[in-house]
Symmetry: C2
Subunit: 338 residues, 2 copies
């Protein structure tokens, strides 16, 4: 219990999650949640010469889309906070130059989206700022940066996940009625259980998710059944099973109301094996399907944990294992939309 003897969960009173916008790629459009996205691409090059330029354009469109959907003007956004998976997070950094908002760049791999919600909540709660939190990824840029050029046609391991193509953007403001609220957050630790297989990131990330959930439950005295839904970012189908096991050993039952965003994104026949992953994964599912159900009152409270695997190709080549992190936010829908 040494790890959990100090309370780490932070609480907020005035952080309204006023808008969620999703832009998704063609494969995601054909997936299980295809109908929940605001904008989908027919072609994942999005009219650009390179996949990297396409990814940046996706960020620009998602930021603009979220602002328009919230009936705001670009100048209303004080700060853009977010990240992506490309080296030096160039997609979000280059997209941010199109806007006059200030910018905080983050990197916690696929945990970046929830990290951005936490830091955004600070600015909204304590400084009354309008904040846009954004995270995304692109299958084709991630493959060639982290793994192999697509042209090589390398066979995929059966435990791999599929980096989702998409961007999810959220706007946080104070004092908006009828919106979900971010009421608490737990910042995660870096946890490394010695997993060496870069194809099996679910196994590397599940122990980090366990650590953060356990910290949260001990801090708050709450239990899994207190929530309508518990969601992890992108553990995938295998990582999800591992987490259910790990939580059971800690005395928490995750069998009834727990989903993984990665496991929800695609149909079996789409051959993504363990499901979706990537910095887009939790951002797409949260800003689309989960947000819609929060707004409708179908989900009254949600525990969302973004999970990130913090290795790079260089660390893998140098024989290192995969450290992981998981950040948590608790989102509550006060009353149903009238």
């Amino acid at each position: 219990m040494q790890f959990y003897d100090k309370k780490q969960t932070l609480h907020f009173k005035n952080v309204s999650f006023v808008s969620g916008f999703t832009l998704a790629g063609p494969k995601e459009k054909q997936g299980k949640l295809g109908s929940t996205f605001d904008l989908t691409l027919e072609d994942d090059k999005f009219g650009e010469k390179t996949f990297e330029k396409a990814e940046r354009k996706m960020f620009e469109y998602a930021v603009s889309g979220a602002i328009a959907k919230a009936n705001l003007q670009p100048n209303d956004i004080d700060t853009i906070i977010g990240g992506d998976l490309l080296n030096q997070i160039v997609s979000v950094s280059f997209a941010a130059k199109k806007f006059k908002s200030s910018f905080l760049g983050l990197y916690n791999a696929c945990g970046t989206y929830v990290e951005s919600l936490i830091i955004g909540s600070f600015l909204t709660e304590f400084f009354n700022k309008n904040v846009l939190c954004v995270s995304g990824s692109h299958f084709s840029t991630a493959e060639r940066q982290y793994r192999y050029p697509l042209e090589l046609g390398v066979l995929r391991s059966p435990v791999t996940q599929w980096t989702a193509t998409g961007v999810g953007a959220s706007i946080l403001q104070r004092h908006s009625d009828g919106c979900p609220k971010i009421v608490s957050a737990t910042i995660g630790r870096v946890v490394d259980f010695g997993i060496m297989d870069v194809n099996n990131m679910g196994a590397a990330m599940a122990p980090a998710a366990k650590d953060t959930f356990t910290q949260y439950f001990i801090d708050t005295g709450k239990k899994p059944s207190d929530f309508d839904m518990i969601a992890t970012g992108d553990l995938g189908k295998l990582g999800k099973e591992i987490l259910i096991d790990l939580m059971e050993r800690e005395g928490y039952d995750f069998n009834n109301n727990y989903i993984d965003c990665g496991a929800e994104l695609f149909y079996e026949k789409q051959k993504t094996y363990m499901g979706g992953s990537g910095a887009a994964c939790s951002a797409l599912v949260t800003n689309g399907w989960l947000y819609n159900n929060l707004k409708k009152g179908n989900i009254k409270n949600l525990l969302l944990v973004g999970t990130g695997a913090l290795m790079s190709p260089t660390t893998s080549f140098q024989g290192e294992s995969i450290p992981a992190i998981a950040h948590l936010v608790e989102i509550e829908m006060g009353q149903k939309e009238s």
Copy 2:
């Protein structure tokens, strides 16, 4: 003036900067500020097989060193916040797994150190957390990742800067007397003036620094002469001259009390051309020389701006210009140490 019509500067009352620790490489040790570092390396491989492993070890030592110097225990640190220049910020992420603190990974290139102070201030001011802010870089890992393998012996352009090898770590706590305090912060925008030359990052970053300084001066009504010292992170000698010019056009006189950390780090004979750069640069100078002078009361107030160039090798290869960012903190020493 459209850019500056909305106040963006944030104010803090209870953020004490209780300890600064610096670990620097052999070339930095021989530089102008060599005597101000807490720990210096004789060999920049630090007993490791690769430069990347050495960089991570530097982070581990700097985090431990800062904690010890503040007479704290590792368990006293609630959150480690920081970043580095390696892809996927693996140096700080891997170092963080040695500690039980929670972790927020950031990336704003060489502006990351000041970004970490700003986000750390949120946690200290509003949640009474003990935070460790850390940033660093390593010449030999940066060269081979961003430019060329050292073995190639490529000639350097006369406008280049030298990525500093080192790590600087700061501890923030509430309610410590006799320590400098972070009293305000301005988060920067992404600014791109179309500079294409990756060897000339000072020119790319100076307009971002100008933008943030101008926002701060308009927000607060203060002027450069209100400060004992104004420091930028790593514009280098050329970028510094450009900034003095740009500020003059805005009506602000930077001729008397303005230094650039990069320009201060090395002697002319060390052939770093425009001076130091890298995520270590502002962290080394702030946690060493500037911090010591704040504590002694020689500097009563300091405006520190961390500057970052947000490109990657991929964006440069794809013909993009260099966007930049600059974040500001205002640090005040209330009374002299007794």
